[in-house]
Symmetry: C2
Subunit: 234 residues, 2 copies
Amino acid sequence: MKKSILIYSGGLDSTVLLAKLLGEKREVKALSINYGQRHIRELQAAKAICAKLGVEHRVADLSALTPLLAGSSQTDKTVPVPHGHYAAENMKLTVVPNRNMLMLAVAGAWAISLKYDSVAYAAHRGDHTVYPDCREEFCKPLSEALWNADWHHVELERPFLLYTKAEIVKIGALNCAQEIMAMSYSCYEGGELHCGLCGTDQERRAAFRDANVPDTTKYDPKGLLELPDSQLVS
Amino acid sequence: MKKSILIYSGGLDSTVLLAKLLGEKREVKALSINYGQRHIRELQAAKAICAKLGVEHRVADLSALTPLLAGSSQTDKTVPVPHGHYAAENMKLTVVPNRNMLMLAVAGAWAISLKYDSVAYAAHRGDHTVYPDCREEFCKPLSEALWNADWHHVELERPFLLYTKAEIVKIGALNCAQEIMAMSYSCYEGGELHCGLCGTDQERRAAFRDANVPDTTKYDPKGLLELPDSQLVS
């Protein structure tokens, strides 16, 4: 039985990946990283979903690094959260410097110490434009470095790399993960309800619409009224 | 003027690299990682040397990761410190899982946020046998991943990769770093004096002897008596 560490944000993509790995009857442990985010709403979602699915969940606290990671709206409260389309120029403000290498390094350390087979993460096609460290030019050499980092080899799996977010939602529906998809959380605002207007929320809503899968996420009705589904950009 | 983040343990190799980079008139900031080491003696040495040289020094605290990094004598107090030659099989116990990727990821994050040109670290030939993540098979792809991790490219520099420790001591002597080399600390025991007997201390003593550079490190006289210089293995 393959054993995998999943890098788990509690967002939609990694939640679907969790369902997919469990569907393959793997042994999975989930790792969330607290890198000093504005809010912990997504970590709560990660915890609740893992509890529901009986998956061990750990949070690695990297918030001590926050002073080194200035200049991103995810860690620096002086930078406003950008609204608008996910791929827009101003979404670059949400980039935490070197975030994926940090997460993969920690997950790799855990995988090596457990002698697990792989680290899986849910980077997907839609991430490429704004997040350099979700692209193949980063993932491929990083994967080689992880493999050679220890006497015990660990594989880096990124099964969603070529998928759109709508395709990921379809995979979630195929893995009977509709209920847990709705439990996942990705809004940059960090409120109890998804705002429906921030970059990731617009992307999330468009993905369910394009996949033709019912979206049971709890959105703020005001957001849905201000920007109807029909006006979302894919 | 080239701007570099140095991964700085406070040990001999990275201290010589610090002296070398300053000798090249670079702008340097030093980063130490506290990954839950048994002792903080080397961090104190790093701090004292940076203060003396007027270099900004930061400590990134990764000790929250300790529970994930079980099984190494550097982080797990239930595993005894191995004595004996550095390259011996039991020195594998000193390996912190994925340590270099963790350090490079944090240093890379800092370099990206400062828009610095490079991250420098002092991996050398003598590290290769026991530390997989000091070898070219790890460093080369990691260097490529770091370059592609962000819109701002950061170079990974490892100028000592092909040097022996004795050659590094010679470079230190050439950079007038004899006094600060003596201030550096690398003993695994963590006492006020270097024990002179642990793996890194034997390696350190042999390096000065082989380089024909006076070793003004403060060793425990008992250690020197138990194992004279003439019996050290290069």
